[in-house]
């Protein structure tokens, strides 16, 4: 049977850029499900801020015919009931047949159902499917009883081959027209499936996101490193992107680079430009949603706006310098940290004390004292994303020691798992203490994250703590940080699991094994993990780990605790003595070496252990012999239990079995 193509385009008022990708992929997925019954496949899904478009190929014109069995009254029912059933189905009784089922025999109608036409399936399926796109925040239009969508739908283009698939959403009827670029294109343009993209292009709409992105990148001058996130945004707020280069007075370069870049990147959505030495240049790249700027008006306008923004920033900078950071500590009394946890002044006092307690020197304590004062500065009120950074810059400008300024600058690091930790020990200490204080405080008043609810970003704070401990210079135990606050210890250990498994890539059973042997000192945890990972490659390790599990079970069952040493005189089988000798040799040889050598040596015990279990019944009838054997196993197990709980190791072979 001949197949057809389908083109669907939903014309919408400007969709927020960050929602487009998810909305489109949901739509394409659902369209894919709908057309699957017709043998169709989604071959294209693209979007601009004003349209979501999906193309399908290989659609049959109608579904296959099928048979449907409709059950009626039971065999013993009275004739009227049987006749009624036949009548209801528009047939006569002789067209019914008796069908036996597990429940009995019933009059049944074997109905031949003709497959629906593709157009019919699409017409009835598409409206609900379109309105079902799960946008993060929807609006109602044109009022009560209307539809909910991300923004009002203004046109619907839906073609099956050469024909319009008719349907209506909220008063908008589908047709064969798309819309051009708001300023440069025609308001409505009739298209066919084949000329759709070309017609859009003629009307200044580049349908494909990748092409818009490439157009932006191609138009960037040398010295512009397009950051991916901004590039995404610009790709998704334009239908016909064109970059232009603008400039600003070099006088503004005296302002901190961080401020200039923030204004350009986050507030104006400009790319910043660096010169050949990597220094910020007095230029920017704006991406227009239009084809050109022949008269230079757009450039002029953007330069004017940026100048005003930079003037504001300079004003804030100058005003802020009139009151130095130390004089602002007192002002923190009126800045609330959290209603029940008091002001930022109170938090500052706690963090200073904590920094001291954790081994901070005068410089770290000074940084902690001044850390939050930038919250009272105009610059941070305007550019909240620069908190901490502004404090660091101001501290330096106002003559605080470099170490203090750097620690303040880095205090929110790492802001994500990809971000680096603070550069200095003071910075690490400050960041850690700040986060620990937040966690202790919030857990103390019951603000504990549950499921996806984590309004105070406590998981991120805890994750930051683990990363700092893992990658920095501090050696502080988790128990000390949790300070007995209910549930905080477990919360931190959960984050250790996440960090070691997800971020560092250690297998989950290795993580479990190592943490079961102690989770307090993160760097020690990492050293043990590395050793376990290394020894895991040896072929003796996993069987040995399995033997450890057996030992654990035996010892657990016997509820054994040793009362003396292993007595060689009680050995009955040579394998016992051999194991004992091998074990003592390993202990002697690995004394004073690292985890890796210890585990490598341990792995060599495998043949002796295997032989032992093969030849010997641990639970010997003679109680003294039995106790001696248990003592031997106990010594063996205990010797390495500080590194990992090997019984937690899931053998790879077993893993493959399970999956």
């Amino acid at each position: 049977m001949a197949t057809k193509d389908l083109l669907l385009e939903i014309g919408v008022e400007e969709i927020p850029d960050w929602m487009i990708a998810d909305g489109l992929s949901h739509l394409a997925g659902k369209v894919g499900e709908l057309v699957a019954q017709l043998g169709g496949q989604v071959v294209m899904s693209e979007a601009t801020p004003r349209r979501l478009a999906v193309k399908v190929s290989g659609l049959s014109e109608r579904e296959a015919d099928r048979e449907e069995l409709i059950s009626g009254p039971p065999k013993q029912a009275n004739p009227q009931a049987v006749e009624g059933f036949a009548k209801k189905n528009g047939i006569t009784v002789d067209q019914l047949e008796l069908v036996e089922t597990a429940k009995g025999t019933y009059y049944s109608y074997r109905k031949q159902v003709a497959g629906k036409a593709a157009a019919e399936i699409l017409s009835s399926g598409l409206p609900g499917l379109i309105l079902g796109i799960p946008w993060p925040k929807t609006m109602l239009w044109p009022g009560k009883g209307g539809a909910r969508f991300i923004r009002p739908i203004r046109w619907l283009l839906c073609l099956l081959g050469g024909d319009v698939v008719p349907f209506t959403i909220n008063g908008i009827t589908s047709g064969n027209e798309t819309g051009g670029h708001r300023q440069l294109g025609a308001h409505r343009v009739a298209v066919t499936i084949d000329n759709y993209e070309q017609k859009l292009r003629e009307n200044f709409v580049i349908l494909r996101g990748e092409e818009r992105r490439a157009k932006i990148v191609a138009g960037l001058p040398a010295g512009v490193k397009a950051d991916a996130k901004l590039l995404d945004t610009l790709t998704n707020i334009t239908e016909f992107p064109t970059p232009i280069l603008g400039s600003f007075s070099a006088d503004y370069l005296s302002l901190p680079e961080e401020v200039l870049v923030t204004v350009m990147r986050f507030h104006q959505k400009y790319f910043s430009v660096t010169d050949s030495t990597g220094k910020l240049a007095a230029q920017f790249v704006a991406v227009m949603n239009t084809s050109g700027d022949g008269d230079g008006l757009v450039k002029h306008g953007n330069e004017r706006v940026l100048r005003a923004r930079f003037n504001d920033a300079r004003f804030f900078y100058d005003v802020d310098q009139q009151k130095h950071l130390p004089a602002r500590v007192e002002d923190l009394k009126v800045v609330t940290f959290q209603a029940q946890l008091g002001s930022y002044h109170a938090k500052t006092e706690r963090v200073v004390a904590l920094v001291r307690e954790l081994g901070g020197d005068d410089s770290a304590a000074r940084a902690a004292l001044l850390a939050k004062t930038d919250l009272t500065c105009e610059m941070v009120k305007e550019f909240t994303e620069l908190q901490g950074i502004v404090g660091g810059l101001y501290a330096k400008a106002q003559g605080e020691p470099e170490a203090v300024a750097t620690a303040i600058y880095d205090q929110y690091k790492p802001v994500s798992m990809e971000d680096s930790i603070p550069r200095t020990r003071d910075g690490q200490l400050l960041s850690l203490a700040d986060k620990v204080d937040t966690l202790r405080g919030c857990f103390g008043i019951g603000l504990i994250p549950t499921g996806s609810k984590d309004p105070f970003a406590l998981r991120r704070a805890a994750q930051g703590i683990i990363k700092i401990l893992a990658e920095g210079e501090l050696r502080i135990g988790l128990k000390q940080l949790a300070a007995g606050v209910d549930k905080l210890d477990e919360f931190l250990i959960e984050r250790v699991k996440y960090y070691t498994n997800e971020i560092r890539g250690y297998a989950m059973d290795e993580v479990n094994a190592v943490l079961a042997a102690g989770a307090d000192d993160i760097q020690d945890v990492l050293a043990r993990l590395e050793a376990v990972k290394a020894v895991r490659a040896s072929e003796d390790f996993e069987p040995l780990a399995a033997s450890f599990k057996r030992m654990k079970n035996i010892l657990d069952q016997a509820k054994f605790s040793p009362s003396g040493k292993v007595d060689a005189g009680l050995f009955e089988d040579p394998s016992e003595g051999a194991l004992w000798k091998a074990f003592e040799a390993v202990v002697a040889s690995s004394k004073g070496t690292g985890y890796a050598q210890t585990l490598a040596a341990m792995a060599t015990l495998r043949p002796a252990v295997d032989l032992f279990f093969e030849k010997v019944l641990v639970n010997a009838p003679d109680m003294a012999v039995r106790a001696n054997r248990l003592t031997l196993l106990f010594s063996l197990k205990t010797e390495f239990s500080g590194i990992a709980e090997f019984s937690e190791i899931v053998p790879k072979t077993q893993e493959t079995h399970a999956s």
């Binding site: 008022e13 925040k137 300023q183 700027d293 004017r304 009126v334 609330t336």
Partner: protein
Amino acid sequence: MKTYQEMIFRLKQYWAERGCIITEPYDVEVGAGTMCPETFLRVLGPDEYRVAYVQPSRRPADGRYGENPNRLYKHSQLQVILKPTPEDVIEQYLGSLEAIGIDLKKHDIKFEEDNWESPTLGAWGIGWQVMLDGMEITQFTYFQQCGGVDLDLVPAEITYGLERLCAFLQDKESVYDIQWTDAFAYGDVRLKEEQQFSVYNFEMADVPTLWKLFELHEGECQRLIDHYKGLETGKERFPVLPTYDQVLKCSNLFNLLDARGAISVTERVGVIGRVRKLAVGVAGIWVDQQYTKGEVAA
């Protein structure tokens, strides 16, 4: 485009041609054109409405003693309400820019997500800030809720920032240099007001007096709301609009107290809650009254 006032004339003319009633500014202090009863109350209920007006908007904390070229204690908004929203609302809006001399083919226009929410009014909507060559010139909002009440007909609210729009058209670096007429600059007309109100708002407003006024207006407003709720008959002649004026007074006093630094961060939420309670109360009785007067099919 010649002058500030000519720009305003043209915008008013443009919207008048599209069926808008052109009214003069509301005569009680407001922080934004949205707060005027022509917007806040008219968007409620099932009646269609179209209105455009210039509204001076007072934001005491934004005052800069007339020294900052872009920030004003009192700026002017052109507020347009289209209820219900016409299907070509964005095309109409873009047409208004052409009407004041902006050649759309030569400029860059973007609609960037910007949802609006006013906790003090119990109101929110969904929309964009409209960017012209990198500058925000308009806030465009589809109202969804006002005074905590879902709207029957979703209106479009188009709010133009008149000073910055004109500074763009006249290519001025400072709003004070805008030509209001050929003979007078914006600064000639308004600079003194900016200076004096900044002095008052930041330095001289008497905090205990402001609090006393706040409580008086709050009390009067609550008294009237309670009175309405107790009415068996005569609801249709009840003065809801004067009750709403009391909300506006409270809102402005709150802004003044805030500028004066008299409201701590912890108190803030509480005071906003008090104003919101009044706004929600008035919205409720306004809707109730509309259905009571019999002009509206319930």
